[in-house]
Symmetry: none
Subunit: 397 residues, 2 copies
């Protein structure tokens, strides 16, 4: 009987160049899937296009760019905020400033646990506007403004590199009062954070303080047809990072909170594997995400990326094999260690299950280039998913 | 550090069928690039579509068909005419007529030097209309009409095969005075050319006289966003042929006049190689073009095409390798020797630099079909260029 379940496993930023981490990693389980399955090369947003993480995941779920609501909305949804119509959401970074200069955009990559302790003091009300703040993973978080006459037409204050502190700026007249509110908020935030015990401790330890927040991706929620309406399947998300949970929630998947799924290199892969097995009982489509391959790439850490792939192979992949479901394994984009950022190079993709079997024997870029799937674009992936689980609708007659 | 420069080298009409010139040519340098790079097959305007040279090059630079201004404009720009709003430009052929019949559409492929001597007498004023004439390479040239109330709605007078002389015809009422002007001009042209010393000499030598001109591609200039505005890069063109220089100029590249770059089989490839090296100093994107592979194909000359590829390998490719830039080598279309004209067959493409490396070892059609790039379309090329030089913008976040 054909398998009617599927796991889409996205290793964030897994694609690389040269002799790659995937190629060097010892990964007998992934290689077995390659041997018993089929490989190809994958461009989430089209050949050569450099995908953002949000836009790419949306496309993986069958939602092209026109459905992209902005980063703030996705991050806030992922952080668990129940967004209401008219809310304005931002993705934030905890950052370190000194003499009005940003000296570290990630506040020394502050730990998730420490950042969580800062959350409470950043929730406040100014005038009629409520500021809802959630920290998520490490230096990342979401900020939501709720009130009357607020606007999302606000420029990013994150310059993406160290430099002068940027004041919130309105992109049109209607947003000027929102920009002013944000200025007031950021001053209060800076003051509150400076005197927080966590930061005093960090200072003593010679660490960068999390004494400021940077804003980007201002956006307001919108309604989209959910994955059930659009494709006739129900979906479930097993991820640690807020953005990925946010995209899944945005398209109407069930989003699990898995114990120890931290969205970083310490994430508990065994718990994630178990969560996948449970989810498959009542979901056709399970989206599984690991983040650390991307983070190691951003840090230029080849060994870290390689070893994390080896841990995935050891601790997580056995659960996928055990599940008996169709399996797709790919990335949302390449993040070559040599570039240290997202690029538009293709990503290897593996399909195992109700698909053909080719001659490839190892899951890596070099082998995937010879794979029987050829070159696939993101716009075609959800159709292939539906086909694999026997839910592809006949076109015409 | 990733290379942030790129040379796009277009061998015009290089693609062929059967055992091909590329396959037979001795080309150790191109083969080394294939070995250290990656191959694929390329369709400039889509699978099976037969590209014109102008439309194909425009697409190579990231400008789809909607930006195509017409052949006349591109030829005139390439010939160095400063086009003004309202000008009407034609691509012309010197031709041979006898008793009102076209007997040779290329006037015995008159040499560039001889044609240049005919140029002066073809510049004239009739009524208020100025006729600006430029010969370019061999029988090719550009004619520009400048005056009030002239129209580009004029049918081609080039029947593309020997036959009766075609009178200039208006495609709508508003163009009828322009057609009449052109008729008068062509009569004067015929008379002036018949009595020119060059033609008397050619007649004595038993060669076809250049005693007429054929018009095609009537078009008026329009403004387009230049390559810097559109893609954030500056570009430079190293080519001999007027059309290719014209397309490059149309999209805002710097167009070099390289000594000895004639746009034919006698072109000085070493000077072109040196020009590429110089251009890379202050341009992200250098477009390099050689024409003779196409011309030999049109003439059904397999050996000539093969030997020209060998000369490219010997004299030009070493400069590309020396440059240290990313390299893309392809064609604008196939011109199989057996067809003697453009076809819609794919062209091999080679990428060397910030890309993956596949198992291919030789730059030819047979090997490129097995290449790791798979099948690429022209619409995706500029995105891939930007990605290779690290200038691809992230889509969304």
């Amino acid at each position: 009987m054909p398998k009617d379940r599927l796991v889409l496993f996205v290793m964030d930023g897994v694609g690389d160049l040269g002799i790659t981490p995937l190629e060097c990693a010892k990964k007998p389980n992934l290689d077995k899937l390659a041997k018993d399955g089929i490989l190809g090369m994958f461009s989430p947003l089209g050949r050569g296009v450099v995908p953002g993480s949000g836009t790419s995941h949306l496309q993986l779920f069958g939602y092209p760019f026109e459905y992209y609501p902005g980063r703030g909305v996705l991050e806030a949804l992922g952080a668990g905020v129940e967004l209401k119509k008219g809310d304005v959401a931002f993705r934030i970074n905890f950052a370190t400033i000194k003499n009005n200069m940003i000296v570290d955009r990630r506040a020394g990559r502050i730990s998730t646990d420490e950042a969580k302790l800062l959350e409470k003091i950043l929730n406040m009300k100014i005038g009629n506007c409520q500021f809802i703040f959630k920290s998520t993973v490490e230096h990342r978080g979401a900020l939501v403004l709720r009130g009357k006459n607020i606007s999302s037409h606000i420029a990013d204050t994150d310059p993406h590199s160290p430099g002068k502190v940027v004041e919130p700026q309105a992109l049109d007249k209607r947003a000027s009062s929102t920009a002013a509110l944000l200025s007031t908020y950021l001053k209060k935030v800076n003051m509150a954070l400076e005197s927080h015990v966590i930061n005093k401790k960090r200072k003593k330890e010679g660490l960068h303080q999390a004494n400021f927040i940077l804003l980007r991706g201002a956006s307001s929620p919108r309604s989209v047809p959910n994955i059930k309406e659009r494709f006739g399947i129900n979906g479930c998300c097993v991820a640690g990072g807020a953005l990925y949970k946010g995209v899944a929630r945005y398209v109407g998947m069930n989003v699990l909170n898995v114990m120890g799924a931290t969205g970083d290199k310490y994430t508990n892969l065994i718990n994630k594997g178990k969560a996948v097995l449970r989810s498959l009982e009542d979901h056709h489509f399970v989206f599984l995400h690991t983040k650390a391959t991307d983070s190691f790439s951003h840090d230029g850490d080849f060994e870290g990326k390689k070893k994390f792939i080896e841990r995935i192979d050891r601790e997580l992949v056995p659960y996928l094999i055990k599940s008996g479901a169709n399996i797709i394994i790919t990335g949302d984009h390449s993040t070559p260690v040599s570039f240290g950022r997202h690029t538009g190079h293709e990503v290897p993709i593996l399909i195992y299950g109700n698909e053909r079997i080719d001659d490839t024997t190892s899951f890596c870029e070099r082998e995937a280039m010879k794979g029987g799937l050829g070159h696939i674009e993101g716009k075609d992936l959800m159709g292939m998913v539906l086909n694999l689980i026997g839910k592809g609708k006949i076109v015409g007659s």
